[in-house]
C-alpha cells in the first residue's frame, strides 16, 4: 500500500485533470504513478512530456524500448514499473509471460535477437548502482551494429526507468492496471 494518499479529484488542478483525461483515453484510467504525481501539476506535466516522446519509435522501436525499460526496472527491483510494462509487452506484442520474465532478467531467449540482447545487457549494467558503464560495455553493443545515436536512445529508456523506479519505489506504489496475479502480488 502506498505510503502517501492518492489525491482526490477535488485536489487536482484543471491542468492535471486534463493530463488524466488524455492518459485515460489511451489506457482506460490514469496509472497509479500518474495519479500520485497529480499532487504536483508541474511533476504531472513533466511526466506527460517525458514518456511518449522517449518511447515513440525512432531508430529503436517501441517494443524494444519497453523491453529495455523492464530490464532496467528488474535490475532495480521496481515491481511497480516492471509489472506494468511487462504486462504491456504481453498484451500489446503477444509475448509469453515467462519469456518476458526471462528477457527482463537478461536471459537470452529465442524471441530476442543477439543485437537486442546486447542492448538489454547494457541497460541492465547501466541500472546497476556503483558500476558505471565502461568502454568495453559500449564496444560490446557497437560490435552488434548499434550506432551511437541508437545507444543514446537505448540509454534513454533506461534513464526513464530510473526516474519512475525511484518515485514508484519511494512511495511504494501498488501493482497497476489489473488485479495482482503473481505469488508476490506483482507481475
Amino acid at each position: 500500500m502506498a505510503i502517501l494518499p492518492y489525491p482526490e479529484m477535488s485536489d487536482l488542478s484543471d491542468e492535471v485533470r486534463a493530463h488524466f483525461e488524455r492518459f485515460a483515453a489511451d489506457h482506460g484510467r490514469p496509472s497509479l504513478l500518474r495519479w500520485m504525481l497529480g499532487w504536483s501539476p508541474s511533476a504531472s506535466e513533466a511526466m506527460e512530456g517525458l514518456y511518449h516522446p522517449i518511447f515513440a519509435s525512432a531508430k529503436l522501436d517501441r517494443r524494444l524500448k519497453e523491453l529495455l525499460f523492464v530490464a532496467a526496472s528488474e535490475q532495480r527491483q521496481c515491481f511497480y514499473c516492471m509489472g506494468g510494462h511487462s504486462r504491456f509487452l504481453v498484451n500489446e506484442y503477444g509475448y509469453d509471460r515467462d519469456d518476458v520474465e526471462r528477457m527482463r532478467r537478461g536471459e537470452a531467449v529465442e524471441q530476442m535477437d543477439p543485437a537486442e540482447h546486447a542492448l538489454v545487457m547494457l541497460i541492465r549494467r547501466a541500472a546497476t548502482d556503483g558500476e558505471p558503464v565502461t568502454p568495453d560495455d559500449i564496444a560490446a553493443v557497437r560490435a552488434h551494429g548499434w550506432d551511437d545515436d541508437s545507444i543514446v536512445e537505448a540509454l534513454s529508456a533506461g534513464t526513464q526507468a530510473h526516474f519512475t523506479n525511484t518515485f514508484a519505489q519511494a512511495v511504494r506504489l501498488e501493482d497497476d492496471i489489473e488485479p495482482s496475479e503473481g505469488p508476490d502480488g506483482y507481475f
Partner: protein, 182 residues
Amino acid sequence: MVLITPPDLEEIDADVRADYETGRHEHRHFDALRRLLVRFPPALRAADGMYDLIMERGLLDRRLKEEIFVACSGVRGCGYAVAAHGGWLTANAGMTRAEVDGLAGGDPGGRSDPDRVLLAFARKVTAAPYRTVATDIDTLREAGFDERTIVEALTVVALSGWMNGYAASLGLDAGDSTGTAA
C-alpha cells in the same frame, strides 16, 4: 572519460540545432550532457522540459531543489551532477564550493530544521528507495511538508537519478561540467 562523442553541431538537423541552442544558456551547467542528448532529440527536449518544470516551478524554492539534487547526486557518487548543480548554487545562492562538497557528502550545514529533514529523506530515498516507510512521511509532515511538497521533492530525487544515470552511462564526470549556471 566520455564514452560516446557528441555529434558535430554543424551536421545535425536545423530544428535539433535550434532546440539545443535555445536551452544552451539556461542549461549551460549541464551542457556536456545536452550535447550528447542531441543524438536522441526527444531526450534533449525532455531534459530541458523536465528541468524547467521540476526545478523551476512548484512550491519548494529553487535553491532547496538544487540542494536536494546535489545531495542525491553525492549519494550516487555522480561528480558530474554535483559539479553542475553545485555550480548553480555557488553562482546563484552564495554557497561556497566547500559547502557544496559538504552537502554532497551528507553535511546539511546551516540549513533550517525542515530543510534538514527533507534533505535526509532525499538521501535515504536515493540510497534505497524501497526502504521508505510510513514513519518517514510522518516525520516530513511534522516538519511542515504536505503531499504536494513531498511529491515535488521526490520528483527532484527522481530527476537527479535520471541525470546521474546518463552521466554514469556516458562517462561524464566533474571535469565535464562547466560548473556555472544562469
